[in-house]
């Protein structure tokens, strides 16, 4: 997507949100049409189970509808705002103990559409993503993995530590220092 098209799409979403804030349900329908596949993908990647991702998606859109007026167009892209609404909803769901308790009952193969890294999609990453990945590339491989496992799958430092077979303290330090480095790199 070139940057002009992206700006236009962003402007359109902003207008749809403004109409949602006025209670326009047809605008909400158009907004859902335009964004739900992306947001469902984000929820699915964190939650890895369709039923949970559906629940998170539904709650996220209710929030988007109810708080559409709180989206501040001056702040930035509407998609960034919506993605973070669905991310937070998904992380909240993931952190709820009753969901975690069911972890053992879940069989990965049953959820056919579970998102994984898609090489085709990676090939067409945006400039912004390449920039973030470039900054993450300044970190050590394990340190980068810590941040990406947290970001994409919502793993807690304890879970990352178990996955990478490293002490939790090390993981926390890596994430903390890694994010500071990424900020310095991006804010340059």
């Amino acid at each position: 997507m070139n940057s002009t098209a992206s700006r236009d799409a962003s402007e359109q979403l902003g207008q749809l949100l403004a109409r949602c804030a006025l209670g326009d349900q047809s605008a909400f329908g158009a907004l859902y049409e335009a964004t739900s596949a992306k947001l469902f993908g984000v929820a699915l990647r964190i939650l890895r189970r369709e039923a949970w991702a559906e629940e998170a998606l539904q709650e996220a859109y209710v929030k988007i509808w109810r708080h559409a007026e709180s989206y501040n167009p001056a702040r930035g892209r509407p998609m960034t705002w919506m993605i973070n609404v669905v991310r937070n909803q998904s992380l909240d769901l993931l952190r709820r103990a009753d969901y975690r308790a069911k972890e053992d009952e879940w069989i990965a193969e049953k959820d056919q559409r579970t998102s994984t890294e898609n090489p085709a999609a990676l090939a067409e990453t945006s400039q912004e993503m390449q920039r973030v990945l470039g900054c993450l590339g300044l970190l050590g491989e394990e340190q980068r993995d810590c941040i990406l496992l947290s970001y994409h799958q919502g793993l807690t430092p304890t879970e990352v530590a178990a996955r990478l077979k490293r002490p939790v303290g090390t993981i926390k330090t890596w994430i903390r220092r890694g994010l500071i480095k990424v900020r310095e790199c991006l804010d340059q």
Binding site: V42, A53, L57, V62, Y151, V160
Partner: protein
């Protein structure tokens, strides 16, 4: 205050946005976010930095039932025909627009539900000679700023006692507690009732002063305070609040 330290704010904001916070820490941080615009801005800056990472996340079309459910939920209340069993709290939210009368009815239902839930276990927790009365006298459903119920406080008499049921895990930062206050009718004076620092159901006997505070209260409120001696008045902003209702009607006050 500690949370005004820019370095700490930055550390918390980055961990939050990166998805690296454990559950209780996330909830505490979200409570802080509501009252701290500077922290909110740091979170937004981190969202701007990291969100491009989802650009390569594959799009997946959600099933049509999600949209159908959404349509029912965003339709005006008058047009709502619940086609699936609504959750209990959804029902409460549904009634809210119909005003105080409906809200009171809903709260009565809540009180009854709490009473039903707690009846088998409320007795043995409190030392007494006569069998304790199990009908609640007062109930308050405390909500956060987005009208989500957080805490149900029920007062019983014979003997006087309070039951506090957090609806989510209320674990404050180290050195902090959630202080529950009774806000007096007319004067608005806050009197401390008890402190909550976990998601556990609390059962606590009430003295005469405590019972009096409940009886004369308009509402109950929760603030975040330093652990230690109970403060005489709220030091932090009100995080959760709800009307305190007499379940026996006004004649008994």
């Amino acid at each position: 205050m500690r949370y005004d330290d820019p370095q700490l704010q930055e550390l918390l904001a980055s961990a939050y946005v990166a998805g690296a916070m454990q559950g209780p820490a996330r909830r505490r941080f979200e409570a802080l976010l509501r009252t701290r615009p500077a922290l909110r801005r740091r979170v937004e800056a981190w969202e701007d930095r990291l969100t491009p990472l989802v650009d390569a996340t594959p799009e997946v079309a959600p099933p049509a039932r999600v949209w159908r459910a959404l349509q029912r939920r965003i339709a005006p209340a008058s047009a709502t025909v619940p086609a699936r069993p609504a959750g209990f709290w959804n029902t409460l939210a549904f009634w809210r627009p119909f005003g105080a009368v409906a809200a009171c009815l809903a709260v009565l239902v809540t009180g009854f539900a709490v009473y039903q839930t707690l009846r088998p276990s409320a007795g043995p927790q409190v030392a007494e000679v006569a069998p304790p009365q199990t009908n609640p006298s007062y109930v308050a459903v405390l909500e956060d700023e987005s009208n989500q119920p957080v805490l149900v406080v029920t007062a019983f008499k014979g003997p006087w006692r309070l039951v506090v049921e957090p609806l989510r895990d209320l674990a404050p930062y180290q050195g902090k507690v959630f202080q529950v206050w009774a806000v007096e009718r007319g004067t608005g004076t806050s009197r401390p009732l008890l402190q909550v620092s976990s998601g556990e159901v609390l059962r606590q006997p009430l003295g005469e002063a405590g019972w009096d505070a409940i009886k004369t209260s308009e509402s109950l409120a929760v603030t975040l305070e330093d652990a230690g001696p109970v403060p005489a008045s709220p030091g932090g902003p009100v995080l959760f609040s709800g009307l305190c209702l007499n379940l026996r009607g006004p004649t008994e006050i």
